[in-house]
Symmetry: C2
Subunit: 448 residues, 2 copies
């Protein structure tokens, strides 16, 4: 399992620790189960892609307070000495059942359930939502881009606009899971072994008084890997200059790999530039486009028959601009022998330990999901939550990133196209089992 | 200077390094100046708050490639051995002129200019936009919340929905600069010495069969610092239960610090709850509100005369939901003795090394800005860009976070209210000096 710098257990909301202090003092130690799920859908979303598990587990399996953490907590004067002593030996000893990374999931379905003594299960809340919520948000956005690109290559160009450094890593990893070909983020390349890719900046072209010189210097350094940015002065002139460099490269037995468009009417420019390249005999030279792309702009330029072979997708992917957060929550569903929900307006949720059963047809296509009790069984369904951590120990071999990527692709191919259209409002059918409904009725009855 | 985990120089787009390889091979070493600025405004923005400098400088002043980084770069087969040897000794040796953290700045004004040999100034692009862009985005969003709250306290509750762990730290720090009172993020509290704050989760209340028991346990543990979450079952009943606990506390000589509303009609509920608390003699107990707040919702509930003393501001602050990125760019404006811009449609910018001159009235109020040449002078103006790094060395004493926070408050008080209204479309006047215009004309003339 690849590890980045860990954040540790004080990467959390203060109340997770003050509540734990209360449980500790009151000697409340019973087992509690929490469900992690997303409420509803933002506009234009119909499915979610699970991501972020590897990092989440790296923390959970080694959730220990450092002496620095404890010194800081002591300084706040919010915790008793006995409690701080307890934290010193704190470990997560519980069970985690969850969907594998790359799985598709739907609104209100638990993607993870954590069962452990209340202090251990409660304290994970903030971290798990942060880690899995954001990675899943981006994997979902990236899957939408992949769908819109209809087989064309996509590269994550978002690093400069990501919300901080950790987001940069998570976006590179999550978009790779969803089928992106590469990232521009070198650190992500190093940590996750994702292919890295890049072209050149406008500054590179501007720095030379003649665009030819800029192109020539780059081509001499990267005979196998030159993609020329052609819009610094004028895209059509830039394409002609690139073509002349491409011809020079051909004469040396090399090939100009591509040109990049970064402004203007992409569909029209792509056709004009394709013509210029073809006229120069550079039929193998690809056209790469960037600048404000997301699933909507990709779909739009392809609808206009753009001759673009690959897209650099930046800012709008990297912050999931049209839906920059998921309403992911982590809710107490059972404490000891009691199933639990709450009644706040608009904030009720399904009590009880659960399983998600996915019905498939003979070919494996997803038909519908049933959210049921943990111990139910349904014919011709796949139980989506797997026990991955038991008694604080990892019970499964974690797949590597390439396997996760393949698993996502396989899952995505099983989802009906109806739900994958980027502007679809169709809802994949998810129902609640009779047994689980019974639990909800029982709790409502107790309250009335 | 407080340091977090550093990202190092390969936290960058690949092209920064491949361009550097080209400059290295072609022996292009001249001094280049880049300007960092934001193009235009997202909807409902009229000013920006500069933040993120401390972290940016921590990197720039120690911008060294580790042996692991170099081993990875070697493995990509994109770099020559000579170039990798050069990177081994790489240091930033240039000059950084910039606005102090907490400054207000406006669209198209440079907030920073970096002058250094081209390889050194170019390679900082991705990192600087990432670090300063996001921190400034959040400081700006937070300033808007502070303005809307009209003196009421604000606490950053966004950690779980932040885009990754680094965003969590940056949001806590940036919102504190803009005047937030505290954060729920314990790690940010430890690293930045920001006050930490928190109440309790619904799970805490749900776990007890009787709400009184939950409240009582908490109050016993935190006699000086209890804020009871009262909406788990029913806000009005919760308020009554909280009042009875408040009375118990009074009898022990303690005081119930507050209650928290987290759902429903906040303005109406706050009045009803205030009445319940006052009737119980708990006039000093504060009402705290959370759930979907941002500057717009804060303004709305206060317009409806909500009796809310403080707000927890979460998701929508933490991702700057209505404008989740700034169009911040880092553009080559001068190379050796040549001023530079580019002509791509919609992407032109001001060539030349610049200074931002802020005109003030006798009382210090900001009247207008002039973007001029670096070496110009204007009477009754403050030059906003200060030389902070020279020959790779920090030349100024960096202010601590409390000083930055005070500086922001002072700056904000100097900006006319016209521009601070959260739905204002007024534009603070920013002009370009005649000398700087002359440079632009000269370049345009050269191109024509």
């Amino acid at each position: 399992m690849k590890q980045r710098v860990k954040t540790g257990p004080i990467f959390t909301d203060l109340y997770e620790l003050t509540m734990a202090q209360c449980y500790f003092s009151a000697k409340i130690t019973g087992e509690a189960t929490f469900s992690l799920f997303v409420r509803g859908y933002p506009e234009n979303r119909n499915y979610y892609v699970m991501a972020g598990l590897e990092e989440a587990f790296a923390e959970v399996l080694d959730y220990t307070f450092s002496s620095e953490d404890l010194a800081y907590l002591k300084k706040t004067n919010l915790f008793t000495r006995d409690f701080l002593d307890y934290l010193e030996t704190f470990r997560f000893t519980g069970t985690v059942r969850c969907m594998p990374e790359g799985s598709l999931f739907f609104a209100d379905e638990p993607v993870m359930e954590v069962s452990a003594p209340i202090m251990e299960s409660q304290v994970l809340e903030t971290f798990l939502i942060n880690a899995i919520g954001f990675s899943s948000l981006i994997a979902t956005k990236a899957a939408r881009c992949v769908k819109a690109a209809k087989g064309r290559g996509l590269v994550d160009f978002s690093l400069r606009r990501n919300q901080g450094s950790d987001a940069g890593l998570k976006v590179a990893r999550s978009s790779y899971i969803a089928g992106f070909a590469a990232t521009s983020n070198v650190l992500a390349g190093k940590i996750y072994d994702i292919p890295v890719s890049g072209t050149m900046a406008h500054s590179f072209v501007s720095l030379f008084e003649d665009e030819h010189d800029a192109f020539r210097v780059f081509a001499e350094n990267y005979p196998d890997n030159t993609v020329l940015l052609i819009d610094t002065h004028d895209t059509i002139e830039g394409a002609k200059n690139a073509a002349s460099i491409g011809i020079e490269m051909q004469q040396r037995g090399e090939q100009l790999r591509g040109v990049r468009l970064d402004s203007g009417d992409m569909a029209q420019l792509s056709k004009d530039v394709r013509q210029i390249l073809n006229d120069a005999g550079l039929t193998e030279t690809k056209i790469f486009a960037s600048s404000g792309f997301d699933e909507y702009k990709i779909a739009r330029v392809l609808d206009n028959n753009a001759l673009i072979d690959a897209f650099g997708v930046g800012t709008k992917l990297g912050v999931s601009a049209d839906a920059p957060y998921l309403d992911m929550v982590y809710k107490l569903v059972r404490f000891k022998d009691r199933d639990i929900t709450k009644q706040s307006p608009g904030k009720a949720y399904l009590a009880g330990e659960k399983q998600v059963f996915r019905k498939t047809d003979e070919g494996g296509k997803y038909l519908a999901d049933i959210i049921g009790r943990k111990d139910e069984t349904f014919k011709n369904t796949i139980p989506m939550l797997q026990t991955m951590i038991e008694k604080g120990t990892l019970m499964v071999e974690m797949p590597d990133l390439e396997e996760i990527r393949k698993y996502f692709t396989a899952c995505f191919s099983k989802l009906d196209e109806t739900y994958k259209a980027i502007d679809s409002t169709a809802r994949y059918p998810v129902s609640v089992s009779d047994d689980l409904k019974e639990i909800q009725k029982r709790i409502a009855g107790q309250i009335l």
